[in-house]
């Protein structure tokens, strides 16, 4: 059987790998494709770095990665946020070794070069040793380098390692409204990361995860063992008593095909999209009366109804970030190798909302996002079996034909399809193909 990939990135024929309604198996299995993705997608596009609430005070920093490259998110004494390459200007050691903290300056562990939190050089031990040499402390190269572009949308900081490309708001396009809706759910209109982070290692390619989030044909199959079991056990234990929040969270994963169809899929440029809209699997959580009162006080009844009428499930900011606005959780994608991905889970507090809301988000994360959760291991198993199954030479193509040609164009780059459609995948690969063939941002 002919393969589309030979040795080395130069031989990759992107146009053949991702077609309108199918993709070649090597996009998930070939290390050369992965290397090219790092270069042309992850180190070009806008990638989620962190949330402003992680660096609230001057001196705070948070270290993370963009693609393969270590970076630091900082808050300098000027009150501004910076995204720096995590590399000393001297001999290249990572400047920040821990994950987060607070410091007056960044001091290299090796030769003691000191930098301000905006990256500018502060001091060098025995600096006179450089007198009369070609080293110039006023040269920008003497500073810790800032990444070419970074910007923030309602507290969510994204950065791009490419100097060129659309600005953040244009790039977010139709999915910026998902961030708006999550932040608007706070009576104070702001979100704050809290409650720690969980990191979950997957033995599979990053795209399986990001495709799965708006794959609405899998929950009723993959999640039988958790969701259906939870329904049965709760019914047996509780009879007709109202289900506790944990059961409200797990049960909807085995809603019917028609329920998920009704949720619908929305797709936008750059691979972005969300499922749900008027309804989603988060629609039937019990009301928290104090919360509704705080919201009405902040926004007025009409606006609150408008905010709560938006009930989205997963929103994907392709390729790196995904949020569930209705339950204030976020999962961040960290590709490690062609068959290894780490998924970070974060939780947000809605500022001005009662404690119950945070507790419910935490509960959601424990039940759905933890590495030891009840629901996710079966997703992970499906990705793992795909990763292994696609090593097979039995067939070359991964099929994405469902409802192809039946999308609804809502204008302004907004495409809609019923929930069971393969629209989300086709839309991601439309972006993937453009990034990979042009290296566009």
């Amino acid at each position: 059987m002919a393969t589309l990939i030979d040795n080395g990135p130069k031989a990759i024929d992107i146009n053949n790998l991702a077609q309108d309604d199918k993709v070649h198996r090597s996009v998930y299995t070939d290390p050369a494709v992965f290397a090219l993705e790092m270069e042309r997608i992850w180190e070009k596009s806008w990638i989620y770095v962190g949330h402003e609430s992680q660096v609230k005070e001057p001196g705070q920093y948070y270290s993370t990665t963009i693609g393969r490259q270590p970076v630091i998110l900082t808050r300098h004494t000027d009150g501004e946020i910076y995204v720096l390459f995590n590399r000393c200007a001297h001999k290249g050691a990572k400047l920040v070794g821990d994950e987060c903290g607070k410091a007056k300056e960044l001091r290299c562990c090796y030769h003691g070069w000191r930098f301000h939190l905006d990256g500018s050089l502060l001091s060098i031990p025995l600096e006179q040793g450089y007198d009369g040499t070609d080293f110039n402390r006023d040269d920008p190269d003497a500073n810790v380098q800032r990444v070419p572009r970074y910007d923030s949308y309602r507290g969510f900081v994204f950065a791009s390692l490419s100097a060129e490309g659309p600005d953040l708001v244009d790039w977010l396009g139709g999915v910026a409204s998902s961030i708006d809706n999550m932040a608007d759910r706070a009576p104070d209109g702001e979100l704050e990361i809290t409650g720690g982070v969980m990191r979950y290692e997957h033995d599979s390619n990053w795209k399986f995860f990001i495709e799965n989030l708006n794959d609405l044909m899998h929950p009723m199959v993959t999640h039988q063992s958790s969701s259906l079991t939870a329904r049965v056990v709760a019914k047996k234990s509780l009879g007709d008593q109202p289900a506790p929040p944990a059961i409200e969270i797990i049960s909807p994963f085995t809603e019917s095909y028609s329920f998920f169809d009704e949720m619908g899929l929305h797709a936008f440029d750059h691979g972005h999209g969300y499922s749900g809209g008027k309804t989603s699997i988060h629609a039937k959580y019990s009301d928290v009366p104090d919360y509704n009162a705080a919201m009405e006080k902040a926004y007025g009844k009409e606006k609150v109804e408008e905010i709560f009428a938006v009930n989205r499930h997963n929103t994907v900011f392709y390729p790196s970030a995904t949020i569930k606005g209705a339950i204030q959780t976020m999962r961040v994608v960290k590709p490690i190798a062609v068959d290894k991905t780490v998924i970070e889970s974060w939780t947000f507090r809605l500022k001005g909302a009662p404690d119950e809301l945070l507790k419910r988000s935490i509960l959601y994360c424990n039940l759905i996002n933890s590495s030891a959760n009840l629901v996710g291991p079966d997703d992970q198993e499906a990705y793992r079996r795909q990763q292994t199954g696609l090593e097979s030479e039995g067939a070359d193509w991964v099929l994405m034909h469902r409802d192809h040609g039946r999308d609804e164009d809502l204008g302004n780059g907004h495409i809609y399809a019923k929930g069971s459609s393969d629209l989300a995948f086709r839309n991601q690969y439309r972006a993937w193909k453009r990034y990979m063939s042009e290296g566009a941002s």
Binding site: G195, R199, I362, N366, S370, L374, D378
Partner: protein, 161 residues
């Protein structure tokens, strides 16, 4: 230390060994019976996590959620548990931290090896058992299992530490 203290320590140790053994022998219903009606199982996701409500946890389960997890163990649709993982729990360094009336706090260290499909995975950490004692023996008000790498990166796991 009196003979009574030694006997008490022995009974506490035997309870911890029994608890671990029931997990390894996959007798989960019997294991679940070792909890008080409102007893909880907690595997925190950070080292000094004050509570399970304002910070994420790897697992935090009351009786209902343990019933769900245990029922899932037996579901033919639990694809990630095929074949079902075998475990070996080792419990050591047992010390009684506090004893007031019927309430006892016990700390210990554990190692659990989980063998799933193709490779063994090692988990290490500390247990804190909050026990209450009655004529019928000990019950767990809380079993806390904190991994040394609780805030690290983890692979999927479904069984109890």
């Amino acid at each position: 230390m009196t003979t009574d203290d030694l006997l008490f320590y022995h009974r506490v140790s035997q309870f911890l060994f029994l608890e671990a053994r029931l997990l390894d022998e996959q007798k989960w219903e019997e294991w679940n019976e070792l909890f008080t009606e409102d007893g909880v199982y907690w595997a925190p996701a950070s080292w000094e996590q004050p509570d399970p409500f304002h910070h994420v946890s790897l697992i935090f389960e009351d009786k209902l959620l343990r019933d769900v997890r245990i029922a899932r163990f037996k579901s033919p649709a639990a694809y990630s548990l095929q074949p079902f993982p075998r475990t070996s729990h080792m419990v050591s360094n047992i010390m009684i931290d506090n004893r007031e009336g019927d309430l006892v706090t016990v700390s210990s260290q554990f190692q659990m090896t989980e063998f799933r499909r193709d490779k063994p995975i090692r988990y290490n950490g500390a247990y804190t058992h909050e026990l209450s004692e009655s004529d019928s023996g000990f019950k767990m008000r809380q079993k806390k299992a904190i991994l040394v790498n609780c805030d690290g990166t983890h692979e999927s796991s479904s069984v109890y530490f």
